[in-house]
Subunit: 202 residues, 4 copies
DNA sequence: CATGAATGAGTATTCATTCAT
DNA sequence: AATGAATGAATACTCATTCAT
């Protein structure tokens, strides 16, 4: 079955190159303005081949999103001496991952497409946003169990931290495609965490 | 010159009706999918007339935004007995105004167009988002002056309050076009304000 | 309202030229192979203008058919001395009209599209084929009333005459796009009419 | 060479399955809309294999037609007591065979393709339609020889009978893909045969 | 010999913008 | 000043045919 293996590997390579080109073009142009023919050209593939791999522009975009979700391995708060440092480090890891994976640019497209594809936005919210909150809440819960935090509504706590961080570090990124994680990001995070610990620290 | 006045008033009426139709169509279809001819039809005006008033689709959209900014008359925190109630009421007014004026739908379009029109997003952020924070910070500053709050970084305070509220009441609305201000909005706001007052209340 | 009249006349001229170009291209290439862009080019019009006049390729084709139906003014059998000659002349007029208007070529397209557009074929059959039979039957009925023919089932009679004529002069034309009304057409018709009169002549 | 035989039989089986699938798809979708890849899939064969067996879509369609011609074994009028019954039975056999073999659907495609492939239509007419007339004429000639019919132009006779039958039972079927041989078909045929016998019966 | 993947040349349709009147 | 008609460029998607393995 050498032939079959060969074909599969070629096919997978093309699949990946289309996905990558799709990601790039969607990020550059948004959904509506992205031209399928551009994506095909960037992937060194004919449009017909592209359509062999993905049944429609929409399906290709969903695949791009899917890949981004899957790369989002959930992290957790490490254990150790200083609670403040631990939470700050956790928040920074999440932020760095999001900036690296250009999550904000993808969010921009999803948000843009909300009126035409509300189910996609809902799907994303349920599978990407909410789980992140839950994971963060669980991480905080563990700190409560360890006696590092007072017992409290940790889901609210996660939203509290997430909200303040978003205000400074996500919200502006939605409006500025070139924004990178600023140098004072850690200071901002630390300020939020301190406020949080003042309220809920043990 | 009654004739001239008449003409000007007719022209202004057309201008306004184009703006209104533009707003409606952009909100309904987003930027890319909105058709200039649809807007002209809805405004009972020929496309050529529309182009006499606005040099391009983009300029028309900017005018729609401009109008929305201007309608956003800044509010302030009333003075009175209970600080918590005052801040909650202020936040609720801001939220209600945003939901009523469908700000989230406009934001969605602006965000969508960030890669193509980054200067618009920057302009909006500088003229719409930041001033709101400043105004809120000033309102809080007044409460400090009145001895209702401890002296603290009120700009951070505004972001704190704004971030938590956004997390619950703006962020989800970006992902769900049909979302209305939920019944428990005030409870959510109050919870944020209480946390805030616990930290910074006098 | 000179402007309006001018515009209308220009618009009607374009409409007519699109219809004519459409007819020509459909007749040449059939429905599936006919390219809307070809039609537009032949009509000296952009495709967008074509789409202003006709909402779709299908609608344009229906309009071409409609025009052909409408040109089909029903004829009748003249009165006069020799019954055979009268019927022969009537049949020849019908045939000539059909050949001139290239009805067979249109029928070819309609027949081709039966699986995809059965309602169009039904519509045509009900509005074009059946009425022709009825008209012929009525014409024969008049000859019965005049005592030129024995009383008989004239609808069957019309089908009898029509069937024999079709066998020789329509059926082959469906299979040969270049076929013209042959020189011996009148002889063929006369032979059919004679057989008919032998059966039903007074 | 058992291996060779095996290979040939496999190849022939594929050939046949392609032909069958081709027939089905062409009948379902017409020529232009039929997709070669659909045919290959239905035949459980790769497109490349299909192209090994048939050099082009057109050639495949011709082969489908060829097969349909060949299945059309010519029938003849039986001998026996009642001439009317014999002719009626003969006509009915022809009609039934045509309905069963879905000849009208194939004709529709051929007619559709006349402008692009006139030689095919001519070929079909010469090898399928005319021979049928000749065969019918010969059958009638035999009845003349047996003294059942008066001497007459039997080719005209065949066209006469064929024409009337077509008018009622073939022409409408071209315009209605779902039409089946109607219950009163025999009555219609009998009426035509009676008229015929009134003219040419011995 | 058989294959599945690849493709280039199409197809119908849309839309922001201009122009003759 | 106002219009409705006109357009060229673009877009997502399809398909008969070929080719490397």
């Amino acid at each position: 079955m050498g032939l079959e293996n060969y074909r599969r590997s070629v096919s997978e390579a093309k699949h990946a190159s289309i996905l990558k080109a799709g990601r790039d073009v969607f990020l550059r142009d948004g959904y509506s303005r992205a031209a399928v023919s551009d994506i095909a050209r960037d992937a060194n593939v004919s449009t017909a081949t592209l359509y062999k791999h993905f049944r429609s522009k929409e399906e290709l975009f969903d695949a791009v999103l899917q890949e981004a979700y899957e790369a989002d391995e959930s992290d957790s708060i490490a254990e150790g001496a200083d609670t403040e440092d631990l939470i700050v480090a956790y928040c920074m890891r999440v932020l760095q991952s999001q900036y690296e994976r250009r999550v904000h640019a993808l969010l921009r497209i999803i948000i843009a497409e909300v009126p035409k594809a509300p189910q996609r936005a809902r799907h994303l919210y349920e599978n990407f946003v909410t789980p992140r909150h839950v994971a963060s809440a669980q991480a905080l819960e563990r700190l409560v169990a360890l006696g590092k935090l007072k017992p409290h509504d940790t889901y609210y706590g996660a939203c509290f931290l997430g909200g303040v961080m978003k205000e400074y570090l996500v919200w502006p990124a939605l409006f500025d495609a070139s924004m990178t994680l600023p140098d004072n990001a850690e200071a901002i995070v630390r300020q939020a965490v301190r406020a949080y610990l003042e309220l809920y620290g043990a």
